[in-house]
């Protein structure tokens, strides 16, 4: 019962935040100085062309009507049409290979981060003040201090240019297509192609997270190791590795997951820059392109999709967390 109440409360809160996100994004556009049609028509176009465009974009109506219409359109999944030359619905642009590529990149980076960071954090905590710990600490210090666009460029110079078979610009095939080829036709070339394309971008985007999780795991483990239950495990004769990975790590992970939820924005922000460096053609690159061409319906659509997925993921994390550890409901 308490869980259900928490669940509903969290849901209402998330809906409020989503509404807030949409509202902020809508009014952002009205802060832009000048006539929004200026960027869209050729400089020598007459006033009648502009007026027609204004009417088509419903820019002449009062702002609250425009706001209301925007909200009602969003409810049915209508983000409007792209204001760029290619006058396609925004949703068609976003929910396409662009979104899939961005999600693939984010997942690959998270995979890299988790696979490297958690063992590194555990080793670092276990061998505190030994060379292994110092190397891990130094690595994570560099990791959180290196701008990822520069890291990507360094990887291109150091790895991609000398090695040769790792591409640096343009994304490879989509994972599900490559996997489909491998399963149905036994053709693993697509998977290899996918892997060599995503390898450097995933490391570039994942390094900050690897460093952050290493730091968090290390400090969390050190805090847990002092607790009585660890002594009890030792006294029981449990091997140290088992104690660390099964008991201590599990207790450390829960707060880490919450912080990672908060830091998801960093992953998304980092993805934008990474996509630009590797010409990845994901949502981030699309956003940057459209900012340059002042395609506001697209910009709004992309930011709303990013903001909403951020809120949804955090809500899911919170609810799972409350389900696994009911103590947090009281906090």
């Amino acid at each position: 019962m308490r869980f259900i109440r928490f669940f509903l409360k969290r849901l209402v809160h998330s809906l409020f935040v989503i509404w807030g996100v949409v509202t902020v994004v809508f009014f952002l556009r009205f802060l832009t100085p000048g006539d929004p049609t200026t960027a869209l028509v050729s400089p020598d176009a007459g006033q009648d062309v502009r007026d027609a465009l204004r009417e088509e974009l419903r820019l002449d109506e009062p702002i609250y009507i425009q706001y209301f219409e925007y909200l009602t359109d969003l409810m049915v999944g209508d983000f409007g049409n792209s204001m760029d030359v290619l006058d396609r619905p925004v949703t068609e642009w976003i929910f396409s290979a662009y979104l899939i590529r961005s999600v693939e990149l984010a997942l690959a980076a998270t995979f890299v981060a988790v696979v490297i960071a958690i063992p590194l954090g555990v080793i670092s905590a276990r061998r505190r003040h030994q060379p292994a710990d110092y190397s891990a600490t130094l690595f994570s210090l560099f990791g959180i201090s290196t701008p990822n666009f520069w890291l990507g460029i360094m990887l291109i110079i150091i790895v991609a240019v000398p090695v040769g078979f790792i591409p640096t610009g343009n994304p490879g095939p989509l994972f599900y297509q490559a996997l489909g080829d491998a399963v149905t036709q036994g053709n693993f070339g697509g998977l290899w192609d996918w892997l060599r394309h995503i390898f450097l971008p995933a490391i570039t985007l994942g390094t900050y997270f690897t460093a952050l999780i290493t730091r968090l795991t290390r400090s969390g483990m050190l805090e847990e190791i002092g607790k009585p239950y660890v002594k009890a495990c030792h006294a029981k004769g449990l091997p140290e590795t088992l104690t660390l990975y099964k008991h201590v790590l599990r207790n450390t992970l829960i707060p880490i997951i919450t912080i990672l939820g908060l830091q998801l924005g960093t992953l998304i922000g980092g993805a934008i820059v990474t996509e630009v460096v590797f010409e990845w053609n994901g949502l981030g690159q699309l956003l940057i392109d459209r900012i340059s061409s002042r395609d506001w319906t697209m910009i709004q659509g992309i930011i709303i999709v990013i903001g909403v997925s951020f809120v949804v993921i955090n809500t899911i994390v919170d609810i799972l967390y409350a389900y696994l550890d009911p103590q947090v409901i009281d906090q």
């Binding site: 807030g20 100085p33 201090s145 290196t146 952050l212 968090l216 924005g265 960093t266 956003l287 910009i299």
Partner: protein, 406 residues
């Protein structure tokens, strides 16, 4: 505002921690270089050298003003060595744009090597253009090489430090100025006000900083306050007669440096606008625990106003985690500014991020153009992060990972 106990703790931690000492050295280094940039720079950071005579002597170089910086008098513009005299006049009168005169060879070079274009005049009035490779004593002239338009990378890094540090410190300061009162009020008064204020903060948190920053720069860049020119007091003093030049070391050198730097106002406001919410979160948490303390109740019963209590009692007791957060935020904002200028949303080219970008076209041949400014970013951010670690270890506010991000 900072108690003796805290000071003692800071001192103890500093003495035992090599990393803290290193952090302070790095940050002081960057701040000193940024402040006294005209003394550290070897060349005017905006001066371009296209198809230069010898790559070292400035007089032979084609000098073109960079964007954002006032161009020098027309007399300084040399259209390049390959132009015929008549063509030169023509170029000077008609083609006075920011585009440097075309040269078959970009001016970039790294330490010790340069390709130069020589004009060999024959007796019958014709001439040939020859490309000659020469070794120059470039390690003194351009210690970190030059970029694609022949600008000295070292001098650009020295000047870029100014933008990074100014935006980092001002941005974090502004964010604290907004976020701390907001969070303190929410936590101290609680109830409906707290709910309302923190819902607003939650909406802000739903936007990844960089995404919101890009959108805001996109909104504001068309209006006038994108950048402003900050005059450089050292250069002005060296140029004027009011200050005796003997007081300024290498006055002639300093006087030749840019008179002002282009400061990205919009970017500073935007990074503050996307990061204040982290200050609000921390300040609120502190205020919630402080408001039930005895001394707050005592002050209240003595008739002190809420404003007075917030200023005199709550803020001083909440200040330690805020200071730690501010330090970490400076590091985040330096990275954020670098990312924005890398993406071309800064309004000035003389920043580390933009310099990393400028080398992206030549990674296979000229690795140093992108590499060098990036090393500067890493040094500055590591320095600030080490100071943040030192403060956190000494003061222990336990805010790791909840302190912002890109």
């Amino acid at each position: 505002m900072i108690s003796d106990r805290v000071k003692a703790s800071l001192k103890r931690e500093f003495k035992t921690s090599r990393m803290a000492q290193l952090g302070l050295i790095l940050v002081l280094l960057v701040i000193i270089v940024a402040t006294f940039a005209p003394f550290f720079a070897l060349h005017d950071p905006t001066e371009q050298r296209i198809g230069t005579g010898d790559g070292v002597d400035d007089d032979d170089a084609g000098v073109i003003g960079d964007n954002g910086v006032e161009e020098d008098d027309d007399d300084d513009i040399d259209p390049g060595d390959i132009d015929d005299a008549d063509e030169a006049d023509e170029a000077e009168s008609t083609d006075r744009t920011d585009v440097p005169p075309l040269s078959p060879i970009p001016g970039h070079q790294f330490v010790g090597e340069t390709e130069e274009i020589q004009r060999v005049d024959h007796e019958d009035g014709t001439f040939d253009i020859e490309i000659v490779e020469t070794e120059v004593n470039a390690d003194r002239a351009f210690p970190l090489g030059t970029n694609t338009v022949g600008q000295d990378i070292y001098s650009r890094i020295v000047y870029g430090a100014r933008i990074s540090m100014l935006v980092g410190i001002l941005g974090a300061g502004l964010a604290a100025l907004v976020g701390v009162p907001y969070g303190l009020a929410a936590g101290y008064f609680g109830g409906r006000l707290d709910d309302g204020l923190m819902r607003g903060a939650d909406v802000m948190l739903a936007f990844p900083s960089l995404v919101l920053a890009i959108a805001l720069v996109g909104v504001f860049r068309d209006s006038g306050f994108h950048t402003t020119q900050l005059p450089d007091p050292f250069v002005l003093a060296a140029q004027s007669d009011t200050v005796p030049n003997v007081l300024i070391p290498r006055a002639d050198h300093v006087a030749a440096m840019p008179e002002s730097i282009t400061f990205p106002v919009t970017v500073t406001l935007v990074v503050a606008l996307v990061n204040w919410v982290w200050f609000a979160r921390i300040a609120r948490g502190e205020a919630i625990s402080i408001r039930t303390e005895e001394y707050v109740k005592a002050a209240r019963s003595l008739g002190a106003s809420h404003t007075r209590i917030l200023r005199q009692h709550v803020l001083p007791n909440a200040i330690t985690p805020i200071i730690v957060l501010a330090t970490i935020q400076v590091a985040f904002i330096i990275l954020l500014e670098a990312a924005l200028s890398f993406l071309g949303f800064s309004g000035t080219n003389l920043t580390w991020g933009a310099d990393v970008e400028s080398g992206r076209g030549d990674l296979a041949t000229s690795w140093w153009i992108s590499t060098m400014p990036g090393i500067a970013i890493v040094i500055a951010v590591i320095g600030v992060n080490l100071i943040g670690d030192w403060l956190r270890d000494a003061l222990d506010p336990g805010i790791e990972g909840e302190s912002g991000g890109m």
